[in-house]
């Protein structure tokens, strides 16, 4: 087990910068999810850890060891691929055993010389991996005779059997159907808790990130946007990108102008004018923002409440009822805004609703830098 450290790690393909000066520390034993839209550089970052892509610039460490120029097989990491990448001509047992057959291991303790495992040691490890992942009766089959979920478990077993310093996972759930994906999420978390190995997990699916990660690192256009626990990135997004990437439906954003009451207090007058009314300023922000300053206001759909005397007017365009909740689509001023309500909304399409929001639930961003102000 070991930590993974990116220090200004950069990857350029010709003129394209895929990963731009990435600084990230994955702690020993941590489940870190690299999250971002496709093309954001998250898979490239993962492949650099594996050694499948060269590092253009910067330093990458596994534990204390700089691995920039170390052969993939000698980095002591294992990877689960999106397609699982099982060897189609080998049985399940052979697939799982394969790293043990070709690699050397420090089986006699870290200070002794690495050696090939004996047949008995190999069998013991393969059987253990098979037991943990419930592959018992499948061991003699070839991958073609397995379902998607079974193949996925074989790929996990193959990654697990060598007891590596870190697991790298590249969208391992994306080829599973929704039900199996949900079940496998829980299994992965469970597996991680048991083996306590560092995991770097790449996905574009925020649900996977939110449910499995100890911490999430959000990337966009090759740059790291924010690192934090699921709660931190949800409650305090560092910038507009993170704010809108995390959460379904995404956070509502609307341009607004700061209105203060002159003495830094928050009496009835102070707030942010968003066209359809005035949104309250988060506590403490009023003293830092001057009157008339343009900002971008962000409010999550579930933080907008329909009340008879709410300060903001919402023009209702459509209501979607999903059973346990409903989504009210409409606009505040010119900005499209979605409201999430539990139960059934008693609102007329084409009418208006008055909305209220708690100051603690208001996010304020700078319109130029897109960074969080509060």
């Amino acid at each position: 087990m070991a930590s993974l450290t990116f220090e200004k790690v950069t990857k350029r393909f010709d003129d394209v910068v895929a990963v731009d000066a990435l600084d990230l520390e994955v702690d020993d034993g941590e489940f870190m999810v690299l999250l971002g839209p496709s093309g954001c550089g998250k898979t490239t970052a993962l492949r650099m850890v594996a050694g499948l892509d060269d590092i253009t610039d910067g330093t990458l460490r596994i534990g204390d060891r700089v691995v920039n120029d170390i052969d993939p097989a000698r980095r002591d990491v294992s990877m689960v691929f999106q397609s699982y990448a099982l060897y189609p001509h080998m049985t399940v047992r052979r697939n799982i055993e394969s790293p043990l057959l070709v690699r050397k291991y420090h089986a006699d303790g870290p200070d002794r010389e690495a050696r090939k495992l004996t047949r008995a040691e190999r069998n013991e490890r393969v059987d253990e991996a098979a037991r943990v992942l419930g592959l018992g009766e499948l061991m003699g089959r070839k991958p073609a005779a397995l379902s998607g979920g079974q193949r996925q478990r074989v790929a996990l077993a193959r990654a697990f059997v060598g007891r590596p310093q870190a697991f790298l996972m590249d969208e391992p759930l994306s080829n599973l159907d929704a039900k199996l994906r949900a079940a496998t999420r829980l299994e992965l978390v469970d597996l991680h808790r048991r083996v306590e190995t560092t995991v770097l997990y790449v996905t574009h699916d925020q649900v996977e990130a939110m449910t499995m990660a100890d911490r999430i690192a959000i990337m966009s256009a090759g740059r790291l946007q924010q690192v934090g626990t699921p709660q931190q990135v949800y409650e305090e997004p560092a910038n507009l990108f993170v704010a809108q990437f995390i959460g379904t439906p995404p956070m509502n954003t609307m341009p607004g102008t700061v209105v203060t009451d002159g003495d830094g207090g928050t009496d009835g007058r102070a707030g942010i004018d968003v066209g359809g009314g005035r949104v309250p300023l988060p506590l403490g922000l009023a003293t830092r923002l001057e009157e008339g300053r343009p900002v971008v206001v962000g409010v999550r759909p579930e933080h907008l409440h329909v009340t008879g005397d709410g300060p903001v007017e919402h023009k209702v365009r459509a209501v979607e009822w999903l059973g346990h909740e409903c989504l009210v689509f409409g606009s505040i001023g010119e900005a499209p805004v979605v409201v999430r309500q539990t139960g059934m909304a008693r609102l007329d399409t084409g009418g208006t609703a008055r909305l209220a929001v708690d100051p603690a639930d208001v996010h304020v961003f700078d319109p130029d830098t897109e960074q969080r102000l509060a």
């Binding site: 050694g51 097989a73 294992s78 990877m79 691929f81 397609s83 060897y87 189609p88 394969s98 790293p99």
Partner: protein
């Protein structure tokens, strides 16, 4: 193979099947089965007085000629030619394909060069090699073509060169069907380049390799033009392969013997091909 799905076909379906197969059956009958039966029939006639007339001798001519020293010599030369041309051509083709199967600037140029041998006709290639071997002006100025011990090897070189191109093209196509992620998984598992080639790549392209082996062996057994052009069967008959001998026998006074040789070569080729399938197919992995 799944046999449980077998069922009886209705007369209507059988009629449709026959109708759809009819064109290809007609072509095969007209240009293969009937000529082949003709040939087998000719083999039962022995020529008299230098082909002035023929006498029907039945299978006697088959028994006599297939056991003759000349037939055996031709067969041995053909086997030699196959052994000289197929394994090196195949191995070189695989190695070239594996080394050219990567994303590199300008790799297409090399891929085109390596496959160019496929685009040259046997006749052109043979003439080129004939000049290469020319004792006065050739690059490989040796006397191999006049040395009964070396002539077969020398004449094989042009075919190795050609087989390599065919193997290269087909293996490269096979490699492109192997998922990158499988090779990357092997790299991370700790397979070095050589192990990866032997334990992962070769098994994954084994259907392609079996196909190549069968095709190249058949080509080898049928080789004629390169021998006719480069050595003319010499020196002292050292490069007279089966088809070369059949061609030499293709005269009225020997046409019966030529027919016997042809039928003999057909069944030998059939047997060798069947053997390759039976022995090797078990080791071939067909991806599904």
């Amino acid at each position: 193979m799944n046999r449980s799905s077998r069922r009886r076909y209705s007369p209507r379906e059988l009629g449709l099947a026959a109708l759809l197969l009819a064109p290809s059956i007609a072509v095969f009958v007209a240009f293969f089965y009937r000529p082949f039966l003709n040939l087998a029939y000719w083999g039962t006639f022995e020529s008299r007085r230098n082909g002035a007339y023929f006498e029907r001798v039945g299978l006697a001519q088959y028994r006599e000629e297939l056991a003759s020293d000349d037939f055996r010599e031709g067969l041995w030369h053909s086997v030699q030619f196959v052994l000289y041309t197929v394994p090196p051509g195949l191995i070189l083709g695989v190695l070239l394909a594996v080394s050219a199967h990567r994303r590199l600037r300008g790799i297409k140029v090399f891929q085109a060069i390596f496959s160019s041998t496929l685009a040259s006709s046997v006749a052109v290639t043979s003439v080129v090699f004939l000049y290469l071997f020319n004792p006065q002006v050739g690059l490989i100025a040796t006397d191999w073509l006049n040395d009964p011990g070396m002539a077969m090897f020398a004449v094989s070189l042009s075919s190795i060169w050609q087989n390599m191109g065919l193997a290269f093209v087909i293996v490269l196509a096979g490699l492109q069907a192997v998922p990158d992620e499988v090779m990357e998984a092997a790299t991370l598992d700790g397979y070095g380049a050589a192990r990866r080639l032997l334990r992962i790549t070769i098994p994954l392209i084994s259907p392609v390799l079996l196909f190549l082996l069968v095709v190249l062996v058949i080509h080898g057994l049928q080789a004629f033009a390169q021998i006719d052009i480069i050595t003319g069967g010499g020196p002292v008959g050292a490069t007279e392969t089966m088809v070369f001998k059949i061609n030499r026998l293709n005269r009225p006074d020997n046409i019966g013997i030529g027919a016997v040789y042809s039928v003999g070569l057909f069944f030998i080729t059939l047997a060798v091909t069947a053997m390759q399938f039976v022995i090797l197919e078990r080791r071939v992995h067909y991806a599904r």
